[in-house]
């Protein structure tokens, strides 16, 4: 089983955070439905060629965030009780945050960003 998760060395986020984001995105998009069984920590570590401890940390934090649940001896599953909308909301906020940070780096002010957002939402509606 391959998750097709791709990590980037050029990404400034730590690897565990990249893994968390990749998994959250799959859950948010509905590709990994509630109850979906995740690969074991060691399987995913082998697939991604990253240390077991890093994947373990990603799973732990995802568990803390309520995205997944781990049942002793049975593996980790996408949480059934989780509100997919919540995860989507978080995903959206992350994307917004990234956009704002990028804008700041380019020297764009609040108004510039708002104008851009306006433009994009209009494009979408059409």
């Amino acid at each position: 089983m391959s998750t097709q998760i791709i990590l980037s060395q050029a990404d400034s986020r730590p690897i565990y955070a990249q893994i968390m984001d990749e998994i959250s995105r799959r859950v948010a998009l509905g590709d990994w439905a509630p109850g979906y069984r995740l690969p074991s920590i060691r399987e995913l570590a082998a697939e991604l060629k990253v240390s077991v401890i890093t994947v373990k940390r990603a799973y732990l934090e995802l568990e803390r965030a309520g995205v997944i649940v781990t049942r002793q001896g049975r593996g980790s599953f996408v949480s059934e009780s989780m509100d997919v909308d919540d995860v989507r909301q978080e995903e959206l906020e992350r994307a917004m945050e990234q956009a704002v940070r990028l804008g700041e780096a380019m020297g764009l002010g609040h108004d510039d960003l708002a104008a851009l957002l306006e433009q994009y939402t209009r494009n979408d509606r059409r």
Partner: protein, 310 residues
């Protein structure tokens, strides 16, 4: 259960001493062993293998005391070092036949799979192989024994990125089993950062730092502060380096926490940026601060700070 446990291991040579090495590798994990050339990595690995006998200290590998229990331990250890060569005038296949006869757990199917994955021809003589092919052939002879513990001395040194990727991939495939462990030395911090659960730094024969990787990467930060004219840095532990120019201070910290951040803010500094460090940066800072104790480093820069403020 620990795959490897070293306690106060000491070995004296005329021009080099290994001093009080403590090292623990829990079963089921990977340890990256990082240090500059001549730091004592190979000596430590050889002591762990029972190939060199320590002058003092205790070494336990897979539950066996070394070097006394080396035969029992070595049945389950696969060792490859940078200075190890297969027989040049013989083919890869010759070595595989030789090892198949020795190891009851030898996996022929896996050996065949690795030959194709590593793009090696068993009928080729070792002397005709490139450096990368030789390393891959040596590693193959170890992987196919299916040992509980793999000890690799500089497995990826001098290899191209593709060969390195293939080898790291195989090492991680080993880790799918919960009872197998890897200890490998490298000065390629990128490889170590990628696959290690635990990281140990060694310099001039002494262990400088040893911790699990996430803790390592989490506790080290570089902070950029903007401060006023008369600003004095509060006392803090884990301060590795202080660089001040004008109203800017750049701190390198080994013990970063949210509390520390609050302490700095309370002291009147504006925190401009908090950066994570790569393992390479952490390694270099550790080695440099181990040459002079951290307090001396902080004290050394303190007067110049006051001088700048005056």
């Amino acid at each position: 259960m620990n795959a490897i446990h070293c306690e106060n291991v000491t070995k004296r040579y005329p021009h080099f001493d290994l001093k009080d090495v403590d090292l623990t590798l829990p079963e089921g994990s990977v340890m990256g062993f990082v240090g500059p050339n001549g730091a004592g990595k190979s000596t430590t690995l050889r002591i762990i293998m029972g190939l060199v006998h320590q002058d003092a200290g205790r070494v336990t590998v897979l539950g066996h005391d070394m070097p006394a229990g080396q035969v029992a331990a070595k049945w389950n250890i696969g060792f490859v070092s940078e200075d190890m060569r297969l027989y040049g005038h013989r083919t890869i296949g010759f070595h595989l036949d030789f090892l198949r006869r020795i190891y009851p757990g030898w996996d022929d199917g896996y050996a065949a799979e690795l030959l194709s994955r590593f793009e090696l021809n068993p009928d080729q003589k070792v002397k005709g192989l490139s450096h990368g092919q030789r390393v891959k052939a040596a590693l193959l002879t170890v992987f196919a024994r299916k040992p509980k513990l793999l000890v690799f001395d500089e497995p990826t040194t001098g290899l191209d990125p593709v060969a390195r990727k293939v080898i790291l991939e195989e090492m991680m495939r080993v880790m799918e089993a919960e009872d197998r462990s890897i200890l490998f030395s490298s000065h390629n911090t990128l490889d170590v950062e990628q696959i290690s659960d635990h990281i140990t730094f060694i310099n001039q024969g002494s262990i400088v730092a040893s911790d699990d990787k996430e803790t390592f990467l989490d506790s080290w930060r570089r902070l950029r502060l903007v401060v006023g004219d008369r600003y004095r840095l509060p006392d803090m532990s884990g301060l590795i380096e202080v660089q001040r120019s004008g109203h800017q201070i750049v701190l390198t910290l080994a013990g970063y926490s949210d509390a520390l951040q609050e302490k700095l803010t309370a002291s009147g500094a504006a925190i401009n940026e908090v950066q994570r460090l790569t393992l390479e940066e952490i390694f270099i800072a550790s080695v440099e601060s181990s040459r002079q104790p951290p307090h001396a480093a902080a004290a050394g820069s303190a007067p110049s700070m006051e001088g700048a403020a005056a």
